[in-house]
Symmetry: D2
Subunit: 347 residues, 4 copies
């Protein structure tokens, strides 16, 4: 219960009110457990439709790290690793959850959160040409985030080129969509949910950071691509007895375009802040068109600002400057945005 | 959305209405993530008080299998295994989640879900006396459930004797309290939450099956008994970004004795059904005084019953009979109980 | 350097002298590492021929526990476990090496070290019929030892029936041949190396207990049955830089029938001891026709005997009696056998 | 059985003849298994003396990757990773053996195979200062190789500084001594075995690449630093039944300074080659004073050379040049060295 206005993250509040409403309405319906309930089934149908992917298998998990670990472990062979940006969530901020499952994260230098088809191609070629590659971890998968951890976006063309390299090199393509709503709603974005379903072997639609209490929806476009995923989830402690909690939420998120509306609202407030920052001559760290805004602040300015606003420390820029992050979400209200702009104008 | 009346499990519905109310009230409060929020902190204080254990560390996880795997893996050394009843949840129904973390489950034959101090003692002695025990998995922990998977209860005296053996043999004592509310509320039970906190090195208070949407509260009575548990949770994919979802629920469950009231209500309805079964000369499989009732049905009777009531298949008794389970919960309503009794009287 | 005569195990000495000779002869030949050398290649050819299995892939590892862990982990899916006798080496005496790799050992009660096709069938049927089997570890493999840990033998007919059940239930059949030489050389045995290669998906020919310094030869009859086994070995720390050490030994063991001669010699001495035991009215614990002899001794007799002879404690029989094991090997010499018989005659 | 003269690696031949002699002499002594034999015990005493470390615990394993994986897994907590040079053996050439055990390798850029105390300090400081470090893999250990994979050496002063940083930051210091003999025998080296035993929490003395058939001796200077290491070895499949094979070899290696003599002989031949390369104006890639020599060859020259001599490809230098490695060992003979020099003079 923070007093200051806060743009510290996109998971500061509970859930979108429609989701809570739905939980209340359905509370006394009795249903079977483990995601086999009718709510989850209904959510699956809606997601399949949204993805234009009638055969997709869909599973609901509770959080991003869990989802990444379960999916990557389910898909990789024991001797394979996963290629990721060095800034990828799995590379740094999952406490070694991928390695806990026995797999190496094979990192590539990121460009504002992104890696390129060219980098992937070079990595695999170098591996293949290494005479000792049988003594090395084989790349088996490419992990990317849309939007990235830096709020940036892959273009459709970039994803298609990455996919091409993946096909040529027998690499599975996996997209972490923790904040996917904010990508889909971004005017600069040209990658639809259908595109993602076409291009990926597996991906997830993030709920926790996009309006749900918790929950991520794993989509496996091609049926049977991951046999026994249900049991693998159970084995990883990722199967909820009350799977309905996730099913109900995703059913609501995919009713009347709620998931997309949530994204739009966050982009709108983010854009408003971006414009103000520009207007007041703040230095943008790099262009990130989604719900996260990265600004380089003089440390003195940062200190003053921090008395009135919550934001995230991102990284040291130089001795006197720091990169900080402002995040908006479905829950960001106009009053807070106006207050922030006012504060920014005075600092 | 099952039409028939259902006693199939204790996780058929959403959550206790008070919990939903609380989620709504708190929905727009902004809080930090990962269980560091004020709701979780408040829940911790209340649980510490209920356990009479001011130094306890408390962590919130999402489900039983996850909790068992994370706790057991966090506590055992790599070369150690966990002693459990062969009917224990970790022994059969967790898809090998304990082995996934590298640990063997060392099973002892159960007596209606329970194991005895004597069995544990003999097991450890046999291990110690085995000249090859350095080539074997060392017992490092005892896992028991209160109530057990058969709905039976350990007495305080039994637990104290088990604890004594644990101390003598350097074994950690861990109690799985997935249905703890139903033990605590049972008139035949003589083991309080305080007793459990005194006797265990670590245990969990079940939420998912006792009124919450999801959630289990791990209690570590002695501070620092499991260093870095937070990071270990993260590594296992068990740390929620919106930890508040769990904190709010447990805060409510431990307000005005709600957790205990939930248990009482389920025991009351279970007792009513037990009495009816007895009255109508049904054959009880074994005495289980909590919210689960195990009945031996003639297969013909079972078939007829199954047309009107949902219950669980438990195990084959003989060619002509089957053990089935009726479960009540916080959500079981009187009308359904009356209907069930009516049906039972006619079958 | 034990003074007493010793029948404590079949790995008391170094290696068969022919193997040492060969190591000396080849010592200064230069060869590539990691089992790609010409000695290993030559050994592979001979083993393929002995197995009548021209396409077999063959890998050399250093010990039984390592071999079991690497093979089982390489072959099982993450959610699968391995069926084994509760007396199986993997079930008790490998310090949890299988669980360390994430897999549960699904134990069946043994009959003098053996399990039956019927038991396996029942286990799988029970699993399949369990409505919760998606929450359980799926049986993926059958592990048996030939000879067993009790020195007993599967008949060809028994193995064929087990194989049939395996095929019907999609189970991989794996034979641990740590002491295979002693089975192959046993007059009562009707299972040839070719039979084993026909029936198994993977098996290993034991070297450490059958005349080698160290070494086990994994045979995969069907090419490509375990892709990337080389890298999996490396990942498990089971790949020797000087793979030639294993190749040279197996090349020698499969030259001029040495492996079979080693077995014969041990069976001959074991039979001599068995006859003497019978003659002197010792109580045989159970019939084991290979190089291990299990005798029930009065504890007093055992104590006296132990002053003159080394043998292994096997298990307590009752308060006054103990089962002990005498083992012969390729290295057992006639003098020691005569001394043992003399001692047995006087005890 | 390579025809050309070969400087491809330091494990081309069998074992030092004295080791083979010893195996023959001891072949028929009977001994107990699993490294509890008198040969292993004698080897331990000699190694303790050579390390001036009377309380050291010593275990014998079969290869470098195995040793690294077992030691690192035995020592790290589950949530910890190991700091290593990005060129370290564990970082690239162990097929993910460390990750297989659940631990992340935290890589630092190498300087000709080495990392500095400063780099380690910065890494730990950055970790500690990261507000999200509870979501990250904690550094628990420093892994370095002496000599490094590039044949370079840490000075005593450098090791002392690294040790200081380790103590200040609660990091375990581990040295991979796969080629330790070649460091100890190098005239430029100022780090003795005693220094290493003083500075390290655990290290290993390499046998496989220094004259043994196979074998690495893990030295744990402080008693009980790694409890239950025996069982942990077993669990990793790293415990030999015939432990004597390793014990006998290390007993011989530490008799009459054989281990040091082996090193000297390899350094002598390497120096001779280095001098010749310099004389004939070959371009040394970087200064490596031990048994490995790295030369930058014009690709045309490399091709010609490769027709007469075996060497290792190391890495591409530029389009027209390649870094190659020549390695000497205990087994390198003068004739081959003379031939090589002659060839080098003509190319």
């Amino acid at each position: 219960m923070i007093d200051k206005i806060s743009f510290a993250s996109d998971y500061l509040e509970g859930a979108h009110p429609k989701i809570l409403d739905r939980l209340i309405q359905t509370n006394f319906f009795k249903s079977v457990g483990y995601g086999l309930d009718e709510f989850s089934e209904s959510a699956r149908k809606k997601i399949r439709k949204a993805c234009d992917c009638p055969d997709a298998e869909i599973y609901f998990l509770t959080g991003g790290t869990q989802t990444n670990a379960v999916v990557i472990d389910a898909v990789l062979k024991s001797y394979q690793g996963v290629i990721a940006a060095d800034s990828g969530h799995i590379s740094i901020h999952e406490a070694g959850a991928i390695e806990f499952c026995g797999h190496k994260v094979l990192t590539l230098p990121n460009h504002y959160g992104k890696i390129s088809a060219e980098q992937i191609k070079n990595f695999v070629e170098t591996f293949n040409n290494d005479q000792n590659h049988d003594h090395m971890v084989a790349p088996g998968m490419v992990y990317i985030s849309q939007p990235t951890e830096y709020g940036t976006l892959y273009t459709l063309n970039e994803l298609k080129t990455i996919k091409k390299i993946c096909i040529e090199n027998n690499l599975i393509l996996y997209i972490d969509g923790a904040r996917l709503a904010y990508a889909l709603a971004c005017p600069l974005n040209d990658v639809s949910l259908k595109n993602i379903a076409e291009l990926c072997d597996v991906f997830y639609i993030g709920g926790t950071k996009c309006g749900a209490l918790i929950g991520e929806a794993v989509v496996i476009p091609k049926k049977n691509f991951i046999p026994h995923f249900f049991t693998i989830m159970k084995q990883h402690g990722a199967l909820l007895a009350k799977g309905r909690l996730l099913g109900i939420q995703f059913d609501e998120l995919f009713t009347d375009n709620l998931y997309f509306e949530i994204g739009k609202s966050a982009i709108k407030t983010a854009d408003k802040i971006r414009n103000a920052l520009e207007k007041f001559n703040y230095k943008i760290a790099f262009h990130s068109p989604t719900n996260q805004i990265f600004v380089i602040l003089n440390n003195e300015v940062m200190k003053n600002l921090a008395e009135k606003v919550e934001f995230s420390f991102w990284e040291k820029f130089d001795e006197d400057h720091t990169v900080v992050r402002f995040a908006t979400s479905w829950a960001t209200n106009s009053d807070d945005v106006d207050k922030l702009i006012d504060i920014l104008s005075q600092t």
